[in-house]
């Protein structure tokens, strides 16, 4: 179950489409080949907390962010797509449970 932060609807997974790792910064022209390779292909692929993008495809159609654990499938929270980093309150909830985790 995910709650879309754009329209507030809570729905099952089938209503959403996953969009992969979030907060990947696009590299500009003049970047090195290594940077460009990392931007295009390298992913964190963590066994644990993962910050990712989802789209409410069969609802409001908007993109948003979700923090989810890839081992337990627990969802820690969803937040707007218009930001470069996860909000502090969700990060706090996660660090309460997993003290080692930090967003980078």
């Amino acid at each position: 179950m995910l709650t879309c932060p754009c329209c507030g609807v809570q729905a099952e997974e089938t209503e959403f489409v996953p969009g992969g790792e979030a907060h990947i910064k696009r590299v500009g022209s003049g970047s090195s080949e290594q940077d460009f390779e990392a931007y295009l292909f390298h992913r964190k692929n963590p066994k644990g907390i993962h910050v990712e993008r989802w789209r409410h495809a069969f609802g409001c159609g908007k993109w948003f962010h979700v923090i989810r654990c890839t081992v337990t499938l627990e969802v820690y929270g969803a937040y707007s797509a218009q930001t470069f980093r996860p909000p502090a309150d969700i990060c706090q909830t996660i660090t309460d449970k997993h003290p080692d985790w930090s967003w980078s």
Partner: protein, 417 residues
């Protein structure tokens, strides 16, 4: 080193007279030594095959295969056992066809019955686009020396009478037919390789999780494990879904994402199909096992998942699609369902490569189609570890992502493998 008794019909008869008492263990369970020449992490099919061909083709027998869980308990025991090599690109066709042809003689080679059954694999064309795609693949296969042909719907019906070829939504318009493809007993492949490795004096060490990779001046010197630290000169990482975790230990990143792929089997029924059928448009593939169960493979999740179980809707989708193609299965009950963690690369082709760290080699990214490649992958990867170069693996290097030399199979082969 005492060699294992060979299995044969005479051995079975002999043991039968002794009430089957005294069969020896199929492989040893040794304690780890202090140092090995080569350590392979991951005792699945690919890892064990690598160790086997290191010993057989290159005489490197001071090898340990470390396994976190039990032998062949990852994706080797979780796939749908389909073996085929009808790939479009030359590099893929070469490695998969090597694998398929090795499968043909694997039982004799390993002295272990892997039950390879070349019953034929057909990939259904259900859209105009697929017809064009498969015809192109058939032509490419002809040039590569892989025996495939494009067949018409009537021939499909003849080969697999239970198919409903004029379905309302996706009628069968033809199929890509590989008569020498088929299935094998998946556990037996891992067990057979493990036994053969053990026979050569290699150590297959189960329940030994790698917790760290030790390096000195950019070169690997050993691994830390749950059963102590072990030194090695060369390290091969062959851990499928957990490749990213191991790569992080070693300090590099991979162009890989791990997702859950699911499969399920029905209750056993009388023989009703003697070919493997894959329907890529609707994401479902099916074959009948020797026990009579229909083995069904489904779609993968779109998000990263390490749970070894997938979403329910994919099963629903797969079964819905298959019922349309095979109306007779609509009343069957499903016996069990499982998921495996597959490592998907950007171009859906595997990685068999050196890594940024000297003497660490990685074999991963087989995604949804690793089982069929086990002998070929082991053959090539062993050559890569032993010699540092391998013609079979060249195209599958990590550098291809930086250099843009993708092996773009996803267009031709579809996501279902």
């Amino acid at each position: 080193m005492r060699r294992m008794t060979r299995y044969s019909v005479f051995a079975v008869v002999r043991k039968a007279f002794r009430h089957h008492v005294g069969w020896e263990r199929a492989w040893n369970a040794p304690e780890p030594k202090k140092k090995y020449e080569v350590i392979i992490i991951g005792a699945g099919g690919h890892g064990l095959a690598t160790a086997y061909y290191l010993g057989k083709n290159f005489g490197i027998r001071n090898v340990a295969v470390l396994e976190k869980g039990w032998l062949g308990g990852g994706n080797t025991g979780r796939n749908t056992t389909i073996i085929r090599s009808n790939y479009l690109q030359d590099a893929s066709a070469a490695i998969y066809e090597r694998a398929r042809s090795l499968y043909e003689e694997l039982s004799q080679d390993l002295n272990y019955n892997v039950m390879f059954s070349p019953r034929g694999v057909m990939m259904l064309a259900q859209t105009q686009h697929e017809i064009r795609g498969y015809k192109r693949t058939a032509h490419a296969n002809a040039l590569q020396g892989v025996e495939t042909e494009f067949i018409d719907p009537l021939r499909v019906k003849e080969l697999c009478p239970i198919i409903h070829i004029s379905g309302p939504r996706y009628p069968i318009l033809g199929a890509l037919w590989q008569p020498r493809g088929g299935t094998a007993r998946h556990d037996a492949v891992a067990w057979g390789y493990a036994r053969a490795c053990s026979d050569m004096g290699m150590d297959v060490i189960q329940q030994c999780a790698v917790t760290g990779i030790r390096q000195e001046s950019g070169k690997v010197v050993g691994v830390d494990t749950s059963r102590g630290s072990i030194d090695c000169s060369k390290l091969g990482i062959v851990v499928a879904g957990h490749s990213g975790v191991l790569a992080e230990m070693a300090g590099f990143r991979l162009p890989v994402e791990s997702v859950a792929l699911q499969a399920l089997v029905s209750e056993p029924i009388k023989p009703c199909m003697d070919v493997v059928v894959m329907a890529n448009t609707v994401h479902g593939y099916m074959s009948q096992s020797d026990k009579g169960e229909l083995v069904i493979g489904g779609g993968a999740d779109g998000y990263i998942n390490y749970t070894q179980r997938g979403s329910f809707q994919h099963i629903e989708e797969t079964v819905r699609a298959l019922i349309e193609t095979f109306p007779i299965i609509s009343r069957l009950r499903m016996l069990r369902q499982w998921g495996g963690i597959v490592d998907m690369t950007g171009d859906r082709s595997p990685i068999l490569s050196r890594t940024p760290i000297e003497d660490i080699f990685i074999n991963c990214g087989w995604g949804t189609g690793g089982f069929k490649a086990i002998p070929g992958s082991g053959w090539g990867f062993a050559e890569l570890i032993a010699k540092g170069v391998s013609p079979l693996c060249d195209a599958f290097s990590l550098n291809r992502f930086r250099e843009g030399r993708f092996i773009d199979e996803s267009v031709a082969a579809g996501v279902a493998h």
